[in-house]
């Protein structure tokens, strides 16, 4: 893909500069298609009447990213062993520079994340946005809610204080009441007969490897479906949204099918890129 602009009013110096800027982009696009994918993501059309309610999803994502970032920093100082966990939390909160801020953001970010998940879910429910063809994305969202609350449960033990310890004792015992699987699940979570060393390292691993990995994967799927199916318009929208009596849209002059299109593969510049 050569770069030369066809109608060249630009100075040679400007041409050289553009070529220098475009070369790495073209190089990347030719080998991966990533530039086209990003362009498709950024310049895809969303209904003209999306509003502030539609920001709850990305707000939830932001809260999760705050958790991921602050969690990674906390993991640098936290020591998941019953003998040292409480001390390390104390150290993070009281000694480490801005440690209190990182831990405070992680502690309160968890609540904000849960609240935003519920708000986002309420918005989707009230807008009827779970309906065809977005059923699958609703289910992925429900899974994210369940897994997110599990993340809250496993994280609650880690400070290894009385609040954490006894909440987990009861939480695990409650799991144990489930028919058939319950006792096995309780034994698995406890990692033995008593809550102790094995329980803490187990919860730590679940909290910072397994469950966040699952959440990242589910968020990826969730976003893929959002981009593929398009952002739902509000129920009162003219964009073929809700009722049976929506006004017909003017016929599309675009020859291409209006149905879902995969990522633009035809070169990022032809698809609304520069000149």
């Amino acid at each position: 893909m050569a770069v030369a602009p066809t109608r060249s009013r630009k100075s040679p110096r400007r041409q050289k500069l553009e070529a220098a800027v475009n070369y790495p982009l073209d190089w990347l696009e030719e080998r991966s298609g990533l530039i086209g994918a990003v362009r498709y993501f950024l310049f895809r059309k969303v209904p003209g009447d999306t509003n502030w309610f539609h920001t709850l999803g990305s707000a939830t994502l932001t809260a999760f990213l705050v958790q991921a970032l602050t969690g990674a920093i906390l993991a640098m100082y936290y020591q998941p062993h019953p003998a040292t966990a409480y001390q390390s939390i104390n150290h993070i909160t009281n000694d480490v520079t801005l440690g209190w801020l990182v831990r405070g953001m992680h502690k309160w970010g968890a609540s904000v994340f849960i609240i935003l998940m519920f708000f986002h879910m309420a918005r989707v429910f009230l807008f009827g946005a779970y309906k065809y063809p977005r059923e699958l994305n609703w289910i992925v969202g429900v899974m994210l809610l369940a897994v997110g609350m599990l993340e809250g449960f496993t994280g609650y033990l880690l400070p290894w204080d009385q609040t954490a310890y006894w909440a987990t004792v009861v939480g695990i015992n409650l799991n144990g009441t489930a028919p058939i699987l319950g006792p096995f699940l309780a034994d698995f979570l406890r990692g033995g007969a008593e809550i102790g060393n094995d329980t803490l390292s187990r919860f730590y691993s679940l909290h910072m490897l397994l469950i966040p990995g699952l959440i990242f994967a589910l968020i990826g799927l969730h976003l893929y479906l959002v981009v593929r199916l398009g952002v739902s318009s509000p129920p009162w929208s003219r964009e073929a949204a809700g009722g049976g009596d929506y006004p017909a849209a003017p016929p599309s002059t675009n020859g291409r099918s209006g149905l879902t299109q995969p990522t633009a593969r035809s070169g990022w510049r032809r698809n609304g890129g520069e000149s």
Binding site: V112, K131, R134, V170
Partner: protein, 276 residues
């Protein structure tokens, strides 16, 4: 119910509408998203600051103030030996926590612990397959609207109840011991009275009720007349030491109390035959 052809046609129409009249995600929608994300991060930072600056390094005091605005930085270190700490989950589990008080152990407690959460999850998952009408405007979806209002109200009430549920303090419960001894008629039995004190101070009343004292947390049974069953002190002390041996996986083990206290507790429970 709209046929699948209708729904497909509507979605095709939507895609065309958005293509011809929609706006580009960047910068229009992305601007709103960015502003909202900044608000979220600011709120999180603000909460962290308020929490930190209204609390102190000591788990029991809040920098000289009576109570921390957003709770202490941490409670005392975990100690499996203490038995009078009242367990309490994070706030978003309060609704489940309170549900457990509604169902009584052991027959229906499974409903509260596993049953209702599972049912809620199943309802959420099957929702888009049950509600296949094309209509999305809220006022024309009365069932969905009423269901949403009911869910919000019940979750709110349960969370509030869970948050404000009073837990009996050991220092208050222990004052009831003489009354218990009198009403149950074991005032002359030194072991039983000692056992009653153990019962009052070891956190038993966090989950059990006894002659009107305590809270039925987790749906645990009332113990005022537990001794009527005729099992002796030994049965009760071994049961309390490790309830899982008797198929009770809800109640924590209290073996940490030690043999003497467990024996006294056993005598107390076997003497609790209901008020005379």
């Amino acid at each position: 119910m709209a046929s699948i052809e209708d729904r497909r046609a509507q979605f095709t129409q939507y895609k065309q509408d958005v293509k011809s009249r929609g706006k580009s995600f960047y910068p229009y929608a992305m601007f709103h998203d960015t502003v909202m994300s900044l608000v979220v991060v600011s709120v999180i930072i603000a909460l962290a600051c308020v929490w930190y600056f209204t609390s102190g390094t000591d788990p029991n005091t809040c920098g000289g103030k009576d109570s921390c605005l957003l709770g202490p930085r941490y409670s005392e270190p975990a100690d499996p030996g203490t038995t009078n700490f009242v367990p309490r989950p994070d706030w978003y589990f309060y609704f489940l926590f309170y549900l457990l008080r509604i169902f009584k152990w052991p027959n229906t407690v499974i409903l509260g612990t596993v049953g209702i959460p599972t049912i809620l999850l199943i309802i959420l998952i099957v929702l888009p397959f049950v509600d296949v009408r094309r209509e999305r405007r809220l006022l024309r979806r009365p069932v969905a609207l009423i269901a949403a209002v009911l869910v919000v109200i019940s979750m709110g009430v349960l969370t509030y109840k869970g948050a404000t549920a009073k837990e009996a303090l050991a220092s208050e419960v222990v004052q009831a011991v003489p009354t218990w001894a009198q009403r149950q008629g074991f005032a002359d039995d030194k072991d039983a009275v000692a056992g009653a004190t153990v019962f009052a101070t070891s956190g038993c009343t966090a989950c059990h009720t006894y002659l009107g004292t305590g809270s039925s947390n987790l749906g645990a049974p009332d113990l005022s007349a537990i001794g009527k069953s005729g099992q002796g002190p030994n049965f009760f002390s071994t049961y309390v030491a490790d309830p899982s041996k008797y198929g009770n996986n809800v109640m924590p083990k209290f073996a940490a109390l030690g043999q003497t206290k467990l024996h006294q507790l056993g005598v107390f429970l076997s003497e609790s035959k209901g008020p005379k």
